[in-house]
């Protein structure tokens, strides 16, 4: 028994060494993506994953990055900070990954960021919106390529400043994000000379919104602000349209996302909101990305497809500028990096890693060539107008 087993064992031990030799010629560049592939954020995680695959395919078809093929390592965190921290650490220690991308919840990013220096790794955010990431929680190895929550809200406030409506009512989901969204919005209203005449919070999982619609009609505001996501948001939009609520008042929201407007169908028409990314941005780089994405997946890219692509393009530009992939060189190259992204001109500012970029306000409308109502850009604001001061999370 022992004799027959020995050669097999020897072969097994030799296998990693052999593959190590064959790899040495074209050492792949491994990029770590610990993201939410199941759970509440699964739909967003699938956008991150499919866009990473598309990008790897595009880069590898052109001969890789600095001549090295790009390889993504995906791990499911379910959006839980403790999982994310563990998976990221495994990637760094076991797989020798030094570049992390695609983290889903801001809480996950905030859990990982303090460890980056110890791990000698860097992180480029594509999704995380919390203002603190580039403010009080900032670390030198973290960068944010995406539009942050405060930046999105700022663009919307700038647009509303010129609107004729003065009295707003808010409806949101009754949990941390919904309440903070309404609080931020009410603060912004005060800053632009408008007022909030009330708000109501619906429990997560509310199916029948008729009572809330009645409540809004009774308050009779000039405009309505909503902070709803997922099935809740879809249900509200459909039911509000059935009660003809939108004929009485315009409805605005923090972020217009196709994930929640698409299932609402015609009911989403007229909804106005900030936009982190949309296929509707008419810009040569974006049109090329949209065409490439449609050719691969036969679908339009969603919010986090675009944001993830932008983060990867930031990484590509930094690696090319540095001519290396080690943490120190890439971090140095990222500081004050400028590029022309799918959202227009973009600059990673050196002081807190935030990408200065344009802010967009979109309106959902019926559009030629699209099966469902889709967003169209109604206002664009310059990076200077929508980006908070260095290491500040708001605009006070």
């Amino acid at each position: 028994m022992n004799i027959t087993r020995r050669p097999a064992l020897a072969a097994l031990l030799a296998a990693p060494a052999l593959s190590g030799i064959s790899r040495a010629q074209g050492q792949p560049l491994k990029l770590g993506v610990p993201t939410a592939m199941t759970g509440t954020w699964a739909a967003l995680g699938s956008q991150v994953v499919r866009t990473c695959r598309l990008w790897a395919k595009a880069v590898n078809a052109e001969g890789g990055l600095l001549g090295r093929p790009v390889e993504f390592l995906f791990e499911d965190t379910q959006g839980v900070p403790a999982n994310c921290l563990r998976k990221a650490q495994e990637m760094v220690e076991r797989d020798r990954v030094n570049i992390l991308l695609g983290l889903m919840a801001s809480s996950e990013a905030l859990a990982v960021m303090p460890k980056l220096a110890d791990w000698n790794a860097l992180f480029i955010s594509s999704v995380n919106g919390a203002g603190s990431i580039t403010a009080e929680a900032w670390v030198p190895n973290a960068f944010r390529a995406n539009t942050s929550g405060p930046m999105g809200a700022r663009a919307l406030a700038l647009w509303l400043r010129n609107s004729p409506q003065t009295d707003f009512f808010s409806l949101s989901l009754d949990y941390a994000w919904g309440r903070s969204s309404v609080e931020t919005f009410e603060g912004l209203l005060a800053g632009i000379g408008k007022r909030s005449i009330g708000s109501v919070f619906a429990p997560v999982g509310t199916r029948d919104y008729s009572s809330f619609i009645t409540r809004i009609r009774q308050a009779n505001p000039q405009a309505l602000y909503i902070a709803l996501t997922g099935d809740d948001g879809t249900a509200f939009l459909r039911q509000a349209a059935q009660y003809r609520l939108f004929e009485r008042m315009p409805v605005v929201t923090e972020t217009v996302d196709m994930l929640f407007t698409r299932p609402a169908g015609d009911a989403a028409i007229g909804l106005v909101g900030g936009s982190r990314y949309s296929f509707a941005y008419d810009h040569p780089a974006n049109n090329a990305f949209v065409a490439r994405f449609r050719a691969e997946y036969n679908e339009l890219p969603d919010t986090y497809d675009g944001e993830q692509w932008q983060a990867l393009e930031v990484l590509r530009a930094a690696v090319l500028k540095a001519g290396a992939t080690d943490t120190q060189s890439v971090v140095a190259a990222l500081r004050d990096l400028e590029l022309n992204s799918i959202k227009g001109p973009l600059k990673i500012r050196g002081c807190d890693g935030q990408a200065e970029q344009q802010g967009f306000v979109v309106r959902v409308a019926r559009r030629e060539g699209f099966p469902v109502p889709a967003p169209e850009v109604i206002a664009t604001f310059s990076a200077a107008e929508v980006t908070p001061a260095c290491r500040a999370s708001n605009f006070t």
Binding site: A43, P203, T206, A264
Partner: protein, 289 residues
């Protein structure tokens, strides 16, 4: 808004929600009353009805066809499940039913995810039902009136069926004493299969009716089954009239609760259930067990 108009609107809102809840709770109570089975898969069948309705309406363009196809699909699934799985378990204890119906709920949800994907699905209402009527100068959707009518009609037909037909007599007999019913030469196995199929058809019809309001989404089943259980507990397990009362109570509690105390609305439904169970442990119209 005029207080009377406000109140009238809220009553109509509550009735339309009660009607939707009635479709799923009625099937649950029928299955329990006649088969002594707690069907955890009932929410998943409701969700299946919503998806089937949307699929059929997208394919044929007819909303009426979706209201026909969904209950047929529900009945077919119910029949197949009762014959292949439940019928083998009647001799066993109750925990077997819990496991197997819970398993069906999980399997159905995953099957729906495989067939239709993770994104919510929806269609638009036909022109005739998408309109509004003015109730005391306030717009109210025609479709919600239709839901109230459908709930009322379902209640009437089921009541007549149970009380005035030979089949209803058989159902009531099988519920009260299955051994005696079988001894008198009736095929109790067939009665059980029929009841299960009928209950699943009702849930699927409810799902198809709910789709234009809520869209067909993966969370729908687990979301709605909890309300259905609460209704059945309030009304009394297995009581037909109790289910009617329970649906109305829960519909009104949620609608008025969401309006006056939205932060406590979720708790109100449970507070209602606890109050009823403390005062009458068997439910409003049930027998204490």
């Amino acid at each position: 808004m005029d207080p009377l108009a406000l109140f009238t609107l809220q009553v109509l809102n509550a009735l339309s929600l009660s009607a939707l809840l009635f479709f799923i709770a009625l099937g649950l109570t029928l299955i329990f009353g006649i088969m002594r089975v707690v069907n955890f898969a009932h929410g998943a069948v409701f969700m299946l009805g919503a998806y089937c309705g949307v699929a059929v309406q997208s394919a044929t363009g007819s909303f009426a066809a979706s209201l026909l196809a969904a209950p047929l699909a529900g009945a077919a699934l119910g029949l197949a499940f009762e014959r292949s799985a439940l019928s083998r378990l009647y001799a066993r204890e109750h925990s077997a039913f819990l496991l197997v119906t819970f398993g069906l709920a999980l399997a159905l949800t995953e099957a729906i995810r495989l067939v239709w994907g993770a994104d919510a699905r929806q269609t638009e209402l036909p022109e005739a039902l998408a309109g509004i009527v003015f109730v005391m100068d306030e717009p109210f959707p025609v479709y919600r009136l239709l839901l109230i009518g459908a709930g009322g009609l379902c209640w009437l037909l089921c009541w007549l069926g149970l009380q005035r037909t030979r089949l209803g007599l058989l159902l009531r007999a099988a519920s009260q004493n299955p051994t005696m019913t079988a001894a008198l030469g009736n095929d109790v196995g067939r009665v059980r299969a029929m009841v299960f199929a009928l209950a699943c058809a009702l849930a699927a019809l409810g799902g198809a009716l709910a789709a234009p309001l809520l869209s067909a989404s993966l969370g729908l089943g687990s979301n709605v089954i909890i309300d259905a259980f609460v209704i059945v507990m309030i009304g009394g397990m297995g009581s037909f009239i109790g289910t009617v009362a329970g649906s109305l109570l829960v519909g009104f509690a949620q609608t008025f609760g969401n309006f006056y105390v939205p932060e406590l609305a979720l708790g109100m439904t449970y507070a209602l259930m606890i109050t009823v169970l403390v005062l009458r442990p068997g439910g409003l119209f049930g027998r204490p067990e």
